[in-house]
């Protein structure tokens, strides 16, 4: 299996200016294979977003290698990377006129450049992305007027239109109601099955991450990194160890969090 993302001996940190504030994580070996669905879990402050930003080169790393399709990212320019990895981030998009179809079509930029017009292939990819994320009915609406769930679907459609083997998403399910969350996770899962895309995402929704992912990356606040299949993580009690708190415990049978009996006052 080819590895769309391979991380080797990566040390991440928060940086203030040029000084790092101590190593946040040391990831000896981690990878995402073609068609794989990987979720990054961890408590608030465990550095999920820092890891994503480090992988994407949006922030400095202390040391280590990140390779896309077996090519060290040091040897790829950002235009080449933009054809391998697309993103959906939590950055606020602050424009009062940008329409859904226009935003999705921006995903074709890496393939056309600064002056290029959309060709037939571009238009096909944009339409396909809009179909996949079920956005046909609000193609012509203004992005800033959509609900959070709809916005997230538009952002994912833009990433799909970019047509990269790997899609990285930071908190795609944040601020979205439960049916919406499941809907988004299911659409992403389908993408890995039908289009052999790889998906790497961060989430606070442990239950749906365990349900949809091929692999979980677990980040602990003390810098430990564990990668494994959801079943193994649950079976070995790791999920309980990391996330049980104040009488709220993870039930290994129902795969959901419950209030511990006798602790419900």
């Amino acid at each position: 299996m080819s590895r769309i993302l391979q991380i080797h001996d990566l040390k991440t940190a928060y940086f203030v200016g040029k000084k790092n504030q101590g190593i946040l994580h040391h990831i000896k070996n981690a990878y995402v294979e073609k068609g794989e669905f990987v979720s990054v879990l961890g408590l608030n402050g465990s550095g999920k977003t820092t890891l994503i930003r480090s992988i994407l080169g949006m922030q400095k790393i202390v040391s280590g290698q990140i390779a896309f399709n077996d090519i060290d990212s040091e040897n790829l320019n950002i235009n080449e990377i933009s054809k391998l990895v697309s993103v959906a981030l939590t950055d606020k998009i602050d424009d009062a006129f940008l329409k859904v179809s226009e935003l999705v079509s921006l995903g074709r930029f890496p393939h056309g450049g600064a002056m290029g017009r959309l060709n037939d292939n571009d238009i096909h990819k944009i339409k396909e992305a809009i179909e996949i994320m079920k956005l046909r009915s609000f193609e012509n609406r203004v992005f800033s007027q959509l609900s959070d769930g709809e916005k997230q679907r538009v952002l994912i459609a833009r990433a799909i239109a970019q047509d990269t083997p790997l899609i990285i998403l930071d908190e795609p399910a944040a601020f979205i109601d439960s049916p919406g969350k499941l809907g988004i996770m299911r659409m992403l899962r389908k993408l890995t099955y039908n289009k052999s895309k790889s998906v790497l995402l961060t989430t606070h929704d442990i239950e749906s991450a365990l349900r949809f992912s091929d692999k979980i990356w677990l980040l602990s606040p003390d810098g430990k990194f564990i990668s494994g299949e959801p079943n193994d993580m649950v079976g070995s009690g790791l999920i309980n160890e990391y996330f049980d708190k104040d009488g709220i415990v993870f039930n290994r049978e129902s795969l959901s969090f419950e209030i511990e009996s006798g602790a419900n006052n």
């Binding site: 424009d95 921006l106 930029f109 600064a114 002056m115």
Partner: protein, 344 residues
């Protein structure tokens, strides 16, 4: 498709409006000159008549200057608003026009200190000296801003530093003013009021050519600017070297502001308001539409303001900044209130 049709219809109507206003600007003034006389004068058929002199030496350079300064300010406003992702960004925020003012203040007001009288040593000489001083002042600040932005990646910090540079320079101008004689002071204040009528025909043609080149350069970035609407991280993820793009956009916008200010003095509100009018009129933030839109609208509104400034019909016209501010300020308020409503 329908949207594309409406867009081209608006552009065609506005272009026709620019031509109409251009002719109106030539025919209207303290002396009314009929349109056929205007055309006769332009094509050299009435070479030596007073009408021909009024048109070719005064009104034509003024109209050409208004047209291209409008384009320059409108385009620079759009580039800066997209670059800083801020609806209040405009030509004045980077301190570039303050730089121009400082250059002019230095030349005009130093007459008081050095004893050389620039004002009285001949109009033509004084005039070109003022243009060069303004250009050097503006470009010096632009270089400073570019240096800052090459050191500091955060564009908002660059914006704030630009505003602060503007304040500091204005303070220096204040000191110069304090030590000046009233004659020079008056000349400087007059320059600061802004005017499209300071240029000779040759200068206005030079301005037109350089603005045209920069407009074409600016249009090369249409897709990159669209991607920039999503912010720096997305732009980077789509293969844009944001630092280099920022620098290129700053240079183009900065040169446009420098040129415009050098030839006309600071003109208020055009750069700030024209992009807002364009977005609302064309109901779009797509730079494929906005770039041509601000260029045509810029020319249209500058010519309209210049025409309005002549309406009282006296020998002198209203200060152009009074007109642009009276038209511009309500437009900016309207656009920002509308934007706030859309977002709710």
């Amino acid at each position: 498709m329908q949207m594309a049709k409406r867009t081209s219809a608006y552009i065609i109507v506005l272009t026709a409006g620019v031509l109409l206003l251009f002719l109106l600007n030539l025919s209207y003034g303290s002396v009314l000159i009929s349109w056929d006389r205007v055309l006769d004068a332009l094509f050299g058929r009435i070479a030596d008549s007073p009408d021909a002199i009024i048109i070719n030496s005064y009104r034509l350079p003024q109209a050409v200057t208004a047209t291209f300064v409008g384009m320059a300010l409108g385009l620079s406003g759009l580039l800066l608003q997209t670059l800083f992702n801020n609806p209040l960004a405009g030509p004045s925020v980077l301190g570039i026009s303050s730089g121009a003012s400082f250059g002019v203040a230095l030349v005009v007001l130093s007459g008081s200190l050095s004893g050389i009288d620039f004002i009285l040593s001949g109009f033509a000489f004084g005039n070109i000296l003022v243009v060069v001083a303004a250009l050097i002042g503006a470009l010096a600040v632009l270089l400073l801003i570019i240096f800052v932005s090459s050191k500091i990646a955060n564009i908002v910090v660059v914006l704030i530093i630009g505003i602060m540079i503007g304040y500091a320079i204005n303070a220096m101008v204040g000191v110069l003013q304090f030590f000046s004689r009233s004659l020079e002071l008056q000349a400087y204040v007059l320059w600061g009021l802004g005017s499209f009528s300071k240029t000779t025909l040759t200068q206005s043609v030079g301005l037109a050519i350089s603005v045209s080149v920069l407009v074409i350069l600016g249009c090369l970035f249409q897709n990159s600017l669209n991607v920039f609407l999503m912010g720096k991280n997305y732009a980077r993820s789509m293969g844009i070297n944001t630092k280099i793009l920022q620098l290129k956009i700053l240079v183009i916008a900065g040169l446009l502001v420098s040129l415009a200010t050098a030839f006309t003095g600071p003109i208020a509100f055009l750069g700030l308001s024209i992009p807002h009018i364009a977005r609302n009129l064309f109901n779009s933030s797509n730079h494929r539409i906005l770039l041509p839109a601000v260029v045509v609208l810029g020319a249209f509104i500058a010519l309209l303001c210049n025409f309005i400034s002549k309406l009282p019909g006296y020998d002198t016209s209203l200060p152009i900044n009074a007109v642009t501010s009276m038209i511009g300020a309500p437009i900016v308020i309207w656009a920002i209130v509308k934007r706030a409503k859309i977002k709710q």
